[in-house]
């Protein structure tokens, strides 16, 4: 074909169209084939295979067990339980020590210092009883479990176990009409839902990607693990003899996590049969070789990347939250503090759900970061339960030396086993944090799906806790 002097962009497109017609529709396949042929020829020339294949076989033997139909899922649950058991039983002592240091020793020191320089009472209250205590509380509650949990989880990841999990869950995801790779974005969600939502980019069909985004919140994230672990230890572990407490608490946490996975399947199934109907795509998944984890480096990176990062985020949000909580507990309207007004207002609704007003207020305060739910609950409980003897006045978080101290405070706030269980359920099922919602908005570019992602789990959380509370009360358990 001859070309005129002045070729224009439109000419190019016209030529392309004509040529496409000429070569036929299988251009893509032929191109891919050409690439493969060249690749295989070049690789053949460069690679010489030795004889020993022993290592390959070891990997395969392990894979046959951990991805077998019979053992795959039990082994998965066992590993998860082991990780939580180590976390629960290992975190208690350092938690107590940190609380003793930050709350019993440093807090009075700061108070004395403030008094000696004649700081006005409101400033002293705002800074030391509000901001400082909120941060100290976040650190002592969250640091120990995270410092154990994250390195353990990261070690599993480095070993190459995650792709095996995907392999085990793939057929289940297919059956509910979702993409097998959703197992990967879900695993990512166990760390951080916002990261999990971004990870759905590996899914190429928009329909399946949307399902993965909406259901990602059912994977418990960093910010929620500490709540689960603490409440399980306090309420569920306390039901059994001491030597079993750690194991039972761990099983309770695994139970909630597995329930979250089942909800992921359930909601995916419903979505793929209603709003998001369509074909299931297939993909090939490669099981990477097991690699010996470099333990020290793993511990280092997981402590820096995850533990410190999550802790820092929690502290950043705890600073304003601590100030707001202290203010709301100390500013009175009609003789009653703002906090008490709000809690009193939400209490009837909370009790209907087997929760209470304090928990609901805490979840509103914690919209930016789930990490501060527990500290907020404790601060508010002390305020409203009038536990003046533990703290030093309204809005002050108290000294506590052990988990039983926390339990005593919650019990004084009217908590029962039902409250504990429903808090664990509500922690699994409520709106994603604001960071995650922002990410969903950016990734889907749709307000509709962002709102759905926020309200769907929240509605489910209200419904589930309501049902559990009513059934428990009917049967006389609570």
């Amino acid at each position: 074909m001859s070309q005129s002097k002045q070729t224009t962009p439109d000419d190019i497109l016209a030529t392309a169209r004509a040529l496409r017609w000429e070569i036929g529709r299988d251009f893509h396949e032929r191109l891919v084939e050409a690439v493969y042929t060249d690749a295989s020829r070049i690789a053949d020339r460069a690679v010489t295979r030795g004889d020993g294949q022993a290592r390959f076989d070891l990997d395969r033997t392990i894979d046959r067990i951990v991805t077998s139909r019979t053992w795959g899922v039990p082994i998965m649950l066992l590993l998860l339980t082991l990780v939580f058991w180590l976390t629960v039983s290992g975190a208690n002592v350092p938690s107590g020590l940190l609380a003793g240091l930050l709350l019993d020793t440093i807090h009075p020191l700061l108070k004395n210092l403030a008094a000696s320089i004649g700081m006005p009472w409101w400033l002293d209250g705002l800074l030391i009883d509000g901001v400082y205590l909120a941060c100290a509380w976040v650190v002592s509650v969250m640091l120990p479990p995270m410092a154990i949990f994250f390195p353990l989880f990261t070690l599993l990841e480095d070993l190459g176990y995650l792709p095996r999990v995907v392999f085990n869950l793939d057929s289940a995801f297919k059956r509910v009409g979702a993409h097998g790779k959703q197992a990967l974005s879900m695993s990512m969600g166990f760390g951080c839902n916002a990261a999990g939502v971004i990870a759905t980019r590996i899914i190429d069909s928009p329909r399946e990607r949307l399902i993965a985004i909406i259901t990602n919140n059912f994977a418990l994230c960093n910010g929620r693990w500490p709540t689960q672990i603490l409440i399980a230890t306090l309420f569920i572990g306390a039901l059994v003899p001491a030597h079993l407490a750690g194991l039972i608490s761990a099983l309770a946490v695994v139970g909630v996590a597995v329930f979250g996975i089942l909800l992921t399947f359930g909601v995916s199934w419903v979505l793929s049969r209603t709003e998001l109907r369509g074909e299931v795509s297939t993909f090939s998944l490669e099981l990477p070789p097991y690699r010996p984890p470099r333990i020290l480096q793993t511990i280092y990176t997981s402590v820096i990347d995850r533990t410190i990062f999550v802790l820092w985020r929690a502290v950043v949000f705890a600073v304003p939250a601590g100030a707001v909580i202290w203010l709301s507990a100390n500013v009175n309207v009609d003789g009653v503090s703002i906090a008490e007004h709000l809690i009193g207002f939400l209490d009837p609704f909370g009790l209907l759900l087997g929760l209470n007003g304090v928990i609901l207020v805490a979840y509103i305060v914690a919209i930016p970061a789930n990490e501060i739910v527990i500290p907020t609950i404790l601060m508010l409980t002390v305020t409203t339960a009038g536990l003046q003897q533990v703290g030093a006045g309204a809005g002050v978080m108290f000294e506590l030396e052990s988990a039983s101290g926390t339990l005593a405070i919650l019990k004084a706030g009217g908590w029962t086993l039902l409250t504990g269980i429903n808090l664990m359920l509500f922690s699994l099922l409520h709106n994603p944090c604001s960071t995650t919602l922002y990410t969903i908005l950016k990734e889907t570019d749709s307000w509709k799906w962002t709102v759905v992602s926020a309200l769907l789990p929240l509605g489910m959380g209200f419904a589930l806790t309501f049902i559990v509370a009513q059934v428990a009360r009917l049967l006389g358990w609570a």
Partner: protein
Amino acid sequence: MMTDDTQAKTASACETCPVHHKANLLKLGVNMEDWDFVVALAGNPNTGKSTVFNALTGLRQHTGNWPGKTVTRAEGGFVYGDHRYKLVDLPGTYSLLATSLDEEIARDFILFGQPDVTVVVVDATRLERNLNLVLQVLEITDRVVVCLNLMDEARRHNLQIDDRRLARDLGVPVVPTAARYNEGLDQLLEAISEVATGKVVCRPHRIQSETPALRQAVSQLTRQIEAVFPNLPNARWVALRLLDGDERIAEAIKSGGLGDLSQEGREQAEREMSLALELEVQR
């Protein structure tokens, strides 16, 4: 000059080797203003791209042993020799032809971001499949260094790889490495700097196994594209994409020039990054 000191102290035979001056490597972390060269890091999933990235930048981006860990781009910087480099870690992909968002991000960056060097990290134990991506990258850009990673595992599996033969066949430098153990990274840096500064000129392999009809169609379209966009470094790739019916590329041509788009593409990729990097760390 930074190297004087090291040169004076050493007296081994290695000292004439450029790799010897590893002391030149200065890891800059995320501090990467005023770079001289942009280096993209591409590769299949799970080949150790992030490990290479961390080793060169001193950043500690989380690495995981599973495919699809990096779905966004991460950036870091380093100084080697007299030049400052910005290193961009692209999402791992098996190909640049397909449709998912992670592949598009990688493809767009190599095509529109026009990095000075593209390092393709390759799993030495799965060379054939990994070469598919290398060949596609070679279609887009000439300035490529192949990082033949996971050599430790290849040895463990008794695989011998003739990296010189490979380099000759591909027409670009090939550097065997075991990034987890910091093996071969000096040579990799040297190869990157040689390609970046133009000391080594690549003669990349182009797909040969295409049918004559295909080849003719491609060259005809390539000539036309070159006539309209004389500054485009990869007209052949654009032709291939047009023949494959890539709407995005067709749009780019219609909307008044790939030249504008390359700038726009780079900026858009940058914007995407700001949020993504934040979340990458959060994990």
